[in-house]
């Protein structure tokens, strides 16, 4: 589209801005301005993404924007923006207490932009090879950021993430190759056989057996990134040991991006009648992750690791919902994913500041937050209430839709689902009680936190739970229709 005669392409915007910012941050000497540049760049990216609402470019062999990834792009850029604001104050504090050195701060911000670039690229890519490359780039970036503290724990977490991630990369690539093989006889050699929009239109003629094998590899490859049990191993440690903004981005965005890739291939599978239905596989993995993570929540002593497991739990629910399929379940899955991104990142904002004021991540060393730090305490409570799926916040709506629509179709699955949710809720509140209530424990120094991002997210979640604008609903329903 054109603004004031200057031709402007939003896709280019969401890609070039972060890339340029990354380069700038990498080259620029000094670290003082970096945080501000970071915020500025993400804000710019967000505006570019929002301009997608007013018109989107034609799909070409490399890039595609439809309602599905439009949702993801806007969500990603928005959370990326708020997180950068949070990260400014967070990193500032880290710098003060000397956990981070100026060079590492520069490195951090550059990497942040690279990550944004990679995720946007993965989202807008129309070429499955490109998508693969982008997701792997994102993974490797986060690996580097997880290890940024250089402590033994951080390095080990990063290493674990790196190794498991690499295997995931390999599996995903193999799946991609198989898809190409399946497409080639039908579409013909060359680029077209990797262009998703072409693939999905011709998928009915593909060789089902090849597609099946391909999907299994893709499910495992990208499922590793989604953090589905039993492929989840990297996730808790990466969340716990990396800087909190990265935990927020990981939980809020990267998991979604990987899930997005899965959804694309699910659509591909669904387009071919003879291939095996992707639903049951996703349902199984989803339930497994949900129940497993809910039980893992109980023995957690590290607050960030606990919420990392809760992310696994919710990715399980989302995967389950998309696996069930159908207009209601898909809508619920989409809604749940959006709400989870917002809520979980808000929780990590709160947790980051809490860990900073308490000087530790051990749950045992924090207590009575509502007394010592009311804003943080109540913010955390609100977040946990939301993440536990209690009304009137948004996640309740999606869980309502998932459970009620499932129970009529597959009662047993719904009962397992409900069981998992309940177990998880009990664990979360068990910890919340000791963190937020009772006599204050640990240092009670005031924190110079930036509450704006946290409460902005929570306000959005709350609003969505009460009232969703019809336009958004129509949008989501449309996407649900796309997903079939």
């Amino acid at each position: 589209m054109t603004f004031a005669g200057v031709s402007f392409n939003p896709i280019a915007g969401v890609l070039i801005v972060p890339a340029a910012a990354a380069a700038l941050l990498a080259l620029l000497p000094g670290y003082r301005a970096t945080a501000r540049i970071n915020v500025l760049a993400t804000a710019l990216t967000l505006t570019c993404a929002l301009s997608l609402l007013f018109g989107r470019p034609q799909p070409n062999p490399y890039f595609l924007v439809d309602d599905l990834n439009g949702t993801f792009i806007i969500l990603t850029t928005f959370v990326g923006f708020t997180t950068s604001i949070f990260s400014a104050s967070y990193i500032g504090h880290e710098l003060e207490i000397g956990r981070l050195t100026p060079p590492s701060v520069r490195f951090y911000h550059a990497m942040y932009q690279v990550l944004m670039f990679a995720m946007n690229l993965a989202l807008v890519a129309n070429n499955i090879g490109l998508m693969w490359v982008a997701i792997e780039l994102a993974t490797l970036t986060t690996v580097l950021m997880v290890g940024i503290y250089r402590t033994h724990e951080a390095l080990e977490a990063a290493w674990k993430y790196f190794i498991l991630g690499s295997v995931g990369i390999a599996l995903a690539l193999f799946g991609t190759i198989l898809v190409y093989m399946a497409a080639r006889p039908v579409v013909g050699e060359g680029l077209d056989a990797m262009v998703w929009s072409v693939l999905v239109s011709r998928a009915s003629a593909f060789d089902p057996a090849l597609l099946n094998v391909a999907f299994i590899f893709l499910l495992l490859g990208y499922g590793t990134k989604v953090g589905l049990a039993p492929l989840h191993a990297w996730l808790p440690d990466a969340h716990a040991e990396g800087p909190t903004p990265i935990s927020a981005v990981l939980s809020g965005l990267l998991l979604n991006v990987a899930l997005y890739a899965l959804l694309r291939f699910k659509m591909l599978m669904a387009a071919n009648a003879a291939a095996l239905a992707p639903g049951p596989l996703m349902v199984t993995l989803g339930l497994l992750s949900l129940v497993f993570a809910s039980f893992m929540l109980y023995r957690r002593r590290d607050i960030k690791r606990m919420f990392a497991y809760s992310s696994i739990e919710h990715m399980g629910i989302i995967t389950f919902a998309f696996g069930m399929g159908g207009p209601i379940a898909n809508f619920a899955g989409l809604l749940h994913m959006t709400m989870h991104s917002l809520t979980k990142s808000a929780i990590f904002f709160a947790v980051g500041h809490i860990a900073q004021v308490k000087g530790t991540q051990r749950i045992a060393d924090m207590g009575g937050l509502t007394v010592s730090h009311p804003m943080l305490g109540w913010g955390l409570i609100l977040g946990v209430v939301a993440i536990a799926g209690l009304p009137p916040l948004g996640i309740f709506m999606s869980e309502f839709l998932v459970v009620s629509s499932t129970f009529a179709r597959a009662p047993l699955l719904a009962i397992i689902l409900v069981f998992g949710i309940l177990v998880g809720l009990a664990a979360l509140f068990l910890r919340l009680n000791s963190i937020a209530f009772g006599e204050p424990r640990g240092p009670t120094a005031k924190s110079q936190a930036s509450y704006a991002p946290m409460f902005a997210h929570l306000a959005l979640v709350f609003a969505a739970g009460i009232y969703m604008p019809p336009a958004l609903v129509a949008w989501f329903q449309n996407v649900a229709g796309l997903l079939g």
Binding site: L164, G168, V403, I421, F429
Partner: protein, 669 residues
């Protein structure tokens, strides 16, 4: 129109919450908030009364919030109106009480924001007309009351209570969610109107009943789902305890009635058996638990469990009669249940207010440290006594009337064809009678130990009468108890539209009978006239007093207590709550609680007094909940090892998953 007013009131209450957050700590805050919470429910109460007594046609309103393509449906029919009256009456009186009581609140900023939201939530539950709105309001009600329970969070017990409460509440909500999912079907017909129209098959209806029993029952406190109730209700501030015990449990009853009588289709023969069995057990267990307590508020909470049992007995009978088309009997049973709902909301709130007044005056909930308050808090003592008489189902007060109606309903049940019911109903009747007698015993204990006798601790000696707002609230409820006791006909007539809407029939209009007597069936069969009994007692009592004082002596002299000649025994020689319950504990407790007593003799030479130790076991907790907790803990512990695997082992997991999936693929097709 009415519905709009009511919804506006709910909205106003919701709006109060953020306002309370803003002004939370200021001095005038509590007066302001509670004052508003008196007025707004009062308005809504008037509207609801107009709806019920005017027997207007149901109104519906749909707001564009909530589930997007559905909207929030609200409906005000006779049933909703009745329960709305219960809710608003309780809310208004509680707020009135809190106008005075709130002054003593140590951390008002933790109570004020949630209180109005809680009231609004209860109102919305009763009005909701689609599954989503219902569940949102329902769980929001739990959430706000949880926050109120946590308001005194520095006591570890309260934190634990809040935890158990929230988990149980979510459990119930999820059960209801499943039930609604069932009734709504796969294509999501979430409005109650659609569910009514759907006529679910018997199988579905049955499942819905079970889920409703779990969901609503856990909120109402049916045994064995009651465990959270005696923990959470006492933990909250007293006016909130009153609302939770007196009103929220009734909202749960509403949920049950709405689902089972209105939505779940025609009942099957065994539904009533399940309900009656549970209800009978609940009734007796509740009162026995209560007898074992010496914490005043916990005792009251357990009595709520008992009364919920009585209500569900009525509902179960109504189900049974409805199953076999005995419309009239069903109407009688249902009316009895609903009337008891109303009565219990009155006197349970009253009693919790009294407990609150005692708590503020003495700082004590433990009866073993109280005593003799009747001298220092005469007015509180008086209204509390009325509450005790009412809840003990003694004439001429209202508790008796509803239990009497339930008995009448039981006496109609021999006509039931089902053999299971033939055997079950008399047993339930016996349990009901037993619980009535035990309740009387329990409140003799509660009142006698708290208000009568001599102070057992300095706190009780220095107590002073509570403030006038609280007294006003208590006297209001006491007056209503008396009114409902001596003129039950009026209230029962008001219930006619409800029962005719639910079971297609209602009791005969009561105002026809002579002297406003209550005639459920025919005058020759059974009748009761609370007013006459009351008048006779008043007349004969005053007559006797007058005659004796006139004709015989009216001289009076104060002297030390006689006590068979033992001089000035210390207050410690009085009967305590535990010792008062000892005979009953010996009779029932040895079985129900595995109660054991043994004396602890001090070793020779030590001056420590010998002590009598009583150990009680909560068998339900030990048999049901403790194993569950252990099981989950065990599973968590086992799975936790997966956190500590080496990278190679994690890779092995990935590898195995891959191989398994490939095998599946190889085998599949």
């Amino acid at each position: 129109m009415t519905l709009t007013i009511v919804l506006a009131c709910a909205a106003a209450l919701l709006a109060l919450a953020p306002f309370a957050v803003v002004i939370g700590r200021s001095a005038a805050a509590s007066r302001l908030i509670y004052g508003a919470s008196v007025i707004v429910p009062a308005i809504s109460l008037i509207a609801a009364l107009a709806q019920l007594l005017g027997t207007a046609a149901p109104e519906t309103v749909t707001l564009p919030v909530g589930l997007p393509w559905l909207g929030a449906h609200f409906r005000l029919d006779a049933l909703s109106a009745f329960f709305l009256i219960v809710v608003d009456l309780g809310a208004a009186s509680a707020s009135l009480f809190a106008l005075g009581y709130g002054e003593h609140e140590t951390s008002p900023e933790r109570v004020l924001p949630f209180y109005p939201a809680y009231l609004a939530a209860m109102t919305l539950v009763v009005l909701a007309d689609d599954a989503f709105t219902f569940l949102v309001s329902w769980e929001f009600m739990s959430l706000t009351s949880w926050a109120l329970v946590m308001s005194h969070h520095r006591l570890p017990d309260n934190v634990r209570a809040g935890y158990v409460y929230l988990v149980m509440a979510s459990f119930g909500t999820l059960a209801l969610l499943l039930g609604f999912g069932l009734l709504a079907g796969s294509d999501g017909l979430y409005t109650f109107a659609q569910m009514r129209a759907a006529h679910p098959p018997a199988m579905l209806g049955a499942l819905a009943l079970i889920l409703a029993l779990i969901g609503a029952g856990s909120k109402a406190g049916l045994v064995p789902l009651h465990v959270w109730l005696p923990l959470a209700h006492p933990a909250a501030p007293s006016h909130v305890s009153a609302l939770m015990s007196g009103v929220m449990t009734k909202v749960a009853v509403y949920g049950f009635v709405r689902i089972v009588f209105d939505l779940a289709g025609p009942p099957a023969w065994w539904w009533s058996i399940v309900v009656l069995a549970l209800a009978g057990v609940t009734t007796v267990m509740g009162v026995l638990y209560a007898l074992m307590q010496h914490d005043l508020k916990r005792l009251l909470a357990y009595h709520t469990v008992e009364n919920i049992g009585i209500i569900f007995i009525g509902l179960g009978l109504a189900l049974a009669f409805e199953t076999y088309g005995m419309t009239f009997a069903a109407a009688l049973a249902l009316t009895a249940a609903l009337f008891h709902v109303f009565n219990h909301s009155l006197f349970k709130s009253l009693l919790f207010f009294g407990a609150g007044a005692v708590l503020t005056a003495t700082g004590e909930r433990d009866m073993e440290h109280l005593g003799g308050l009747i001298h220092r808090m005469p007015q509180t003592a008086f209204v509390f006594l009325i509450g005790c008489v009412a809840i003990s189902a003694l004439p001429p007060l209202n508790g008796f009337v509803s239990e009497w109606l339930t008995f009448q309903a039981i006496l109609l049940s021999p006509q039931l064809p089902s053999w299971g019911l033939k055997l079950l109903v008399p047993a339930v009747g016996a349990l009901l009678a037993l619980s009535a007698a035990l309740a009387a015993a329990c409140f003799v204990k509660a009142y006698g130990v708290t208000f009568l006798g001599r102070p057992r601790a300095p706190a009780a000696e220095t107590a002073t009468e509570t403030n006038s707002f609280s007294l006003a609230a208590m006297f209001l409820l006491a007056a209503l108890c008396l009114l409902a006791g001596i003129l039950p006909g009026l209230f029962i007539n008001a219930l006619a539209p409800v029962s005719s809407a639910l079971v297609g029939g209602h009791m005969p209009v009561q105002t026809g009978a002579q002297w406003l007597a209550l005639v459920p069936i025919t005058a020759s069969r059974s009748s009761y006239d609370g007013m006459l009994v009351f008048v006779f007692m008043a007349i004969s009592g005053t007559l006797a007093a007058f005659a004796i004082h006139r004709l015989a002596s009216d001289r009076l002299r104060r002297a030390p207590a006689w006590d068979c000649g033992y001089p000035d025994a210390s207050p410690a020689t009085q009967y305590t709550a535990m010792s008062f319950a000892q005979p009953i504990r010996r009779v029932f407790g040895t079985v129900v609680f595995r109660a054991r007593e043994h004396g602890e003799m001090p070793p020779p030479g030590s001056t420590r007094p010998a002590r009598l130790v009583v150990e009680l076991h909560d068998l339900i907790w030990e048999a049901l909940y403790a194993p569950l907790a252990v099981g989950i803990g065990f599973a968590a512990e086992r799975l936790n090892h997966l956190q500590f695997l080496t990278i190679r082992q994690f890779l092995t997991l990935v590898f195995c998953t891959l191989v398994i999936l490939l095998l599946v693929l190889a085998i599949w097709s």
